[in-house]
Amino acid sequence: MLIRVQTERFDAGSLLNMLSGADSDCGAVASFSGQVRGGNNLVALELEHYPGATEKALTRIAAHARTRWDLRQAMIIHRVGRMEIGEEIVFIGATAPHRRAALEAVSFMIDVLKTQAPFWKKEFDDQGARWVDARPEDDRAAARWLDDKEDASA
C-alpha cells in the first residue's frame, strides 16, 4: 500500500509500471489519473489540504478497498499546491489476481476520496479565484459504495 501527498509532479506511467511489475500472481492492474481540465477560462488550480488528516483519510480508503476486494497493491498519490492545465492531480492504482477487483477498487477509491479526504480546490481564471463547490453527483457516487456494504467483486 503506497499513500503519498506531495507538491511535486509525478509520472503516472512510472507509477503504473511499478504496480504492473510488483506481483507475479496478479493478472490485473487498473488505474485512474485525474488531471487539471482546461476550459471556462481556467488558468490554474490550487489544492489545499489538511496535513496529517489527509494521509490518514487516504490510508483508510485504501485499507477499506483491501478489505472489500482481493487486492495485492493499492496506491493513492495526490498532489497539493498550484497546478497548471493538463498537470496531474491524483493517481489511483490497484492490482489483483482478477480484473473485477482491480477495476472496482479503483472506482471505489477515487469516488470515496472525493467526499472523504480533506482536499480543497481553488480555481484561478482570468476573473480571479474561487473555491470549487462540492458536487451532489460526487456524494451520490460515494454513497453508492458506502451504503452498499456487500462485496461487489463477484
Binding site: 489538511y50 496529517g52 488528516a53 491524483v90 472525493k114 472523504q116 480533506p118 480543497w120 470549487v132
Partner: protein, 81 residues
Amino acid sequence: MSITVRYFAALRERMGTAEEVIEPPEGTAADLIAWLVARDDQADALAHPSTRLIVNDEIVSREHALKCGDVIAFCPPFSGG
C-alpha cells in the same frame, strides 16, 4: 477547557485565521459551533450543514463530545481528486 480550532479553505478565508486556541465550556461539537457563532456573526458559516468536522484527524458528527486538548477542524465540503 482548551481547544485548538483550525479553519480550512473558504472557512479559513471567512474566519480570517487558520488556527486559534479557545476556551469554550465543555460540550459537543454542536455546542462549540453555537458558542463560536455567539462570539462572532462571521462564524455562522461553521453552522452550515455542509461543513464537515474533523477532530484529531478523524471525521466526526456534531454530537461528538469534545475534550480538553482536542484539535477540531472546520472544513468546507471536500473537493479533491
